[in-house]
Amino acid sequence: MQRILEAYVGEYASGKSENAVNRSLQLIKKGRKVRLVDLDVVEPFYTLRPLKKILEQMGIDVLAWETAETIGLGEAAIPLKKETIRALEFDGDLIFDLGYGIDGCNILKIIKDSSGEEKEEKIKIIMVVNITRPLTSSVPLILKMVNEFEEVDGLINNTHLGEETTIELIQKGAIMVTEVAKKLSLPVVATTALRDLASRIGEFDVMGNKVWPIDRYMSKAIW
């Protein structure tokens, strides 16, 4: 069985961590072995910190700092755990949660370069897009953001407005993200939506992309 290697990137507050967490849980439910690696070194850094214990209880192998182990939440320094640097040495699926912007991708390179493995395994870079985020609110702006990352292998439509999210808005996101994907010949991996909204949309969104129901975990982790 080939293992799944995915890294979640995107604009600040686009839903990268939420999607990485939910993807990990989705794989756990399929009976797979999953490691979730917190590579969000952009301050306040390591956003999964407050969730570490909860996720571990759900069966995920989480590589992240615990709040009490850190000083200054990234203002003083950005330490990488030594276990994190060798994160790829794990016999299961790996989901990476990267910080926003190109810095996030640079950290991933450090991990790849530090991997002792001979054969190069492809880590799929998935860009999470919420079209209510100003800098990804139009087709040209999303294309511009894709350009800022060195490589993107797929897009996720994670369009929402917090508690004000409507099905119509999610579908609008699906249309825009699919248009971008077509221009770039990239797949739309999924449209993600909170469980109740997802069930109302059905198995596929208006553009025929798969709908992945997600639950909110990051609301427990504002800092």
Partner: protein
């Protein structure tokens, strides 16, 4: 242009057009507070940001530096906050709308330049995203910079300070801050905090001009055109005086200007039961928690009002005093994430009235609506 990665590089003008559309279209956006500030500065036609990184305001710099170049506007990271403050004043002197954002120890370092702006009546906008103190303390949150931000300079300088409680208010108050700074020429602040800086909620960005908001233009203060004495009066800006009377005359003028400005800018939010046994006073994000708590206990039949100052300097003291003086039995609760900074202002404004003032003070710690609710239920119970 399609690049190697498959994305697209955009011409500066196209990008400016895309950003302008976001303001013009008034679509609901899902944003963090720091981003909202950067967009508000853009909407208020700010020219230049000078700043030095400090949590929790960093994304204001990040987003301004991302947005500004498309409009030919600028950003400079100075060597420290002292420099950021003074370069702002230099920009203002030559007619640029300048601003900065800081927090905690950075707020202290900027006070020297702010004090100079108070003396010379130079405009500028400072965004303060309060963090825990004293000193470096936490990067997270507090309301402990209330006193420093409202009265931080030496010599009783005067300033305008907005304290916001939602992203919508943050956007609108930041635009007002730019307008009023250049209209009244007092240093102007938007007092936020780490929670507001980082939390995400929907907000409608807009182009103030399309809503018929006047945008006050910046004009050169020191380098005006024309020959001094011959074609115009000379500009003589001073922060040094030789005799006491000279200073006293200038400051009396500032006081009169400040009192006039107060009538035009002072803002607050009040609500709850018409007749009340209890009044909660809170500002900023704690004010938001207080309003939520008041709504809940009102539904349970408790008679509670709230008062949330939006301008914390000048303080809407007359409005607060009016509510309290009309109901001699009214008990007051002041809640803040600080050890009595708002409380001392409330006490001063209500001096002489016999109403009981209770307080809920949590320096550097968040206060939830549920906590306030619990206190209101306890205090609201009728004796016997």
């Amino acid at each position: 242009m399609i690049t190697e990665s498959g994305g697209v590089k955009m011409a500066k003008e196209t990008l400016a057009g895309e950003y302008q559309e976001i303001l013009n279209n008034e679509k609901e956006m899902f944003m963090t507070g720091n981003e909202v500030v950067a967009w508000a500065a853009l909407a208020a036609e700010a020219d230049f940001m000078y700043g030095y990184p400090i949590t929790p305001q960093n994304e204001i710099m990040y987003y301004w530096a991302k947005l500004a170049p498309a409009f030919g506007r600028g950003f400079l990271q100075t060597e420290d906050e002292i420099s950021a403050g003074f370069t702002m004043l230099g920009g203002a002197l030559v007619g640029k709308k300048t601003f900065s954002a800081t927090a905690g120890p950075g707020n202290i370092l900027m006070q020297e330049s702010i004090s100079m702006a108070e003396m010379m009546r130079l405009p500028g906008v400072w965004i303060i995203q309060q963090r825990g103190g004293p000193s470096t303390a936490t990067v997270i949150y507090s309301q402990q910079e209330f006193r420093l931000t409202t009265t931080g300079g030496n010599g009783e300088g005067m300033r305008l300070v907005y304290s916001t409680s939602s992203h919508q208010e943050l956007f609108e108050s930041t635009i007002k801050a730019f307008n009023n700074a250049w209209k009244y020429r007092f240093p102007t602040f938007v007092l936020g905090d780490g929670y507001q800086a980082k939390m995400r909620e929907p907000v409608v960005l807009f182009n103030p001009k399309l809503r018929n908001w006047e945008i006050i233009a910046a004009e050169p203060i020191a380098m005006k055109s024309g020959v001094p004495y011959l074609e115009r009066d000379p500009v003589h800006l001073r922060n040094t005086f030789n005799i006491e009377e000279e200073l006293y005359d200038i400051l009396s003028g500032h006081l009169a200007d400040f009192r006039r400005m107060k009538q035009e800018v002072v803002e607050w939010d009040e609500g709850g039961s018409e007749k009340a046994d209890l009044l909660v006073v809170a500002h900023g994000i704690v004010g938001r928690a207080a309003i939520s708590a008041v709504k809940t206990v009102n539904n349970q039949g408790l008679r509670v009002k709230y008062f949330r100052p939006i301008t914390v300097r000048p303080f809407p003291g007359e409005a607060l005093r009016k509510i309290v003086s009309e109901e001699p039995e009214l008990k007051i609760l002041v809640a803040e994430s600080a050890y009595g900074q708002l409380l001392s202002v409330v006490k001063e404004e209500l001096y002489g009235l016999a109403n009981t003032i209770e307080s809920y003070l949590k320096p550097g710690l968040g206060i939830t609506a549920e906590e306030i609710e619990e206190i209101l239920v306890r205090l609201g119970k009728k004796e016997g």
